[in-house]
Amino acid sequence: MSTITQKINFLRIVEIEKIVRESPTVKTFFFADELSAQGKPGQFIMVWIPGYDEVPMSISSTCSDDLVSITVANVGEATRIMHKQEAGGILGIRGPFGNSFSPVKGKALLVGGGTGIAPLVFLAAELAKLKTKLTFLLGAKTKEELIFLSYIKAIISRTKGKINAATEDGSFGHKGVVTELVETTLAKEKFDKIYACGREPMLYKIFELSNMHKISLQMSLERIIRCAIGLCGSCTIGKYRVCADGPVFTSNQLQEVVNEFGKLKRDFNGTKISV
């Protein structure tokens, strides 16, 4: 007897078909996989770099011909080795895991920081199909690190939406952090939903702002992922498991785990440390 959970959890070896450099530190990897291609915005897959590590990565796009992409920042050993790979290289994958963003009609505000932009781009493409009016706010350290800018511009122009960016060094758009743009945007405009993905201090700030303005919210969180199927308990935030109950959480759920959200996470041995 093979259930759906078992099926998606089987390791598949895939060949990298194409690699696109998005920024000095970020690359997008494309490969064909039928199951991942059915993934929804917000879902993630586990990527095995044979002989090294297995790490969680959000799906950044899917395509009707089973082509899927993940967008990877080079931050440590596993991601450095991935970045050295070339088309034709091999990865092991299982998934897709977790829940997904629920698309809203009407007006949506999307806020992405760093590689957190990747799953939101996937979401934006889905929302555009529903004719949702989009405002996309992006944040990064520098202009070079603002990924998917022209792609987002193309989606936005189709939906008559808006795009605005912040860079910490001021090399593009607003000089400062993206949450400052969120603050000014929310002071002027109402939205049906806010979607966000990025570093947790940024997410926490947006959570506070959404509460203040009483706008419903969904954001994607990160914790240490091992099993990805809700068993091992590595990824908990409060009573929730990021891999199985998340990674996308609503404002109400975040309120329930507010003692940890934005403050505490667990390291590899399970000790609570500051975010």
């Binding site: 259930t3 099993c227 091992c232 308990g233 409060g238 498991r241 399970g270 609570k272």
Partner: protein, 304 residues
């Protein structure tokens, strides 16, 4: 109305015979309490040691046709850190702290610490198949097993469950050894030593190469172990291995288990599994005219 499912095992009053298996969601007090609220009659923590331990790098889990092979490597924050977690588990269900250690003395100290922070009972992990110098390295050595159980029993008054490994010539011998050394109950079984190789890359998938098989593939092995042990000892047995339905649970009870533990099946069935299994056992008892779950413990031995 009398609760048909209630069972006393080694002095622990359980409202039903389902328990969470060790190492499943057992690091966080809040998730343990969520499991109890979802219907588990008792909760068991991740195996905790005296020192924090990071465990093995990923991959730590591989799906196979009817189960999982895992080598987490006992990641845990250490017993001391668990003090912060335990406050969330108070009064939801009996709490069993699973402990592991690297020597007889350390087991005694770990047991005392676990009781001090609030364990209602202890489960000794002398059966993890992928950790060196602890777990099954102890459970596979009858002399060491005896010493560890004796030392632990001497150091605490709370009930001590000994979790057995099937990776031995005779699990009956391990069971008898543990009983003689003073164990209050036995948990059978931990995972079967296993491995998976990816043929495309010719690489073992787990970072530790070798791990333990859990899930439905394990069930007939575990049922056999419980059945054999039941004939050989007088202390209660907690059945564990591949339980995913109420029928599985009843099978373990009839083999001789007084309670059962559920782990891997949570991945497919979610936390509702505890309530589903309990409702199924209850309906079965009613249909068969039993007034208590105790009446079916070891029932299969009577039809010999």
């Amino acid at each position: 109305m009398m609760n048909r499912l209630a069972i006393n095992i080694a002095g622990l009053e359980l409202s039903n015979p389902t328990m969470l298996a060790a190492g499943i969601l057992g690091i966080s007090g809040l998730t343990l309490s969520r499991v109890a609220k979802a219907g588990a009659g008792a909760i068991v923590t991740k195996s905790l040691g005296l020192q924090p331990r990071a465990g093995y790098p990923n991959p730590t889990i591989v799906q196979v046709e009817s189960g999982l092979v895992n080598a987490m490597g006992l990641p845990n924050p250490g017993i001391e850190h668990f003090t912060q977690e335990i406050k969330f588990t108070r009064s939801v269900a009996p709490l069993i702290i699973s402990i592991y250690a690297f020597s007889t003395d350390e087991f005694a100290i770990a047991a005392q610490k676990a009781v001090k922070i609030g364990a209602d009972a202890l489960e000794l992990n002398v059966s993890c198949p992928h950790a060196k110098k602890t777990g099954a390295d102890i459970g596979q050595d009858p002399k060491l097993l005896e010493e560890v159980v004796k030392a632990t029993k001497r150091s605490v008054k709370k009930p001590v469950f000994v979790k057995l490994t099937p990776n031995v010539d005779s699990i009956v011998r391990s069971a008898k050894t543990a009983e003689k050394a003073g164990a209050d109950a036995l948990t059978a079984i931990n995972t079967v030593k296993a491995m998976v190789i990816d043929i495309e890359t010719a690489k073992p998938i787990l970072s530790n190469k070798i791990g333990g098989l859990s899930g439905s593939a394990l069930k007939p092995i575990a049922v056999r172990c419980v059945y054999e042990i039941f004939d050989a000892v007088d202390i209660p047995i907690v059945g564990c291995g591949g339980i995913s339905t109420w029928q599985d649970a009843v099978e373990f009870l009839q083999a001789g288990a007084s309670a059962i533990q559920i782990g891997t099946a949570i991945a497919q069935k979610g936390l509702n599994i505890f309530t589903q299994v309990n409702e199924g056992i209850e309906a079965f008892l009613e249909k068969k005219g039993f007034h208590s779950v105790k009446e079916i413990i070891g029932l299969s031995h009577k039809s010999k």
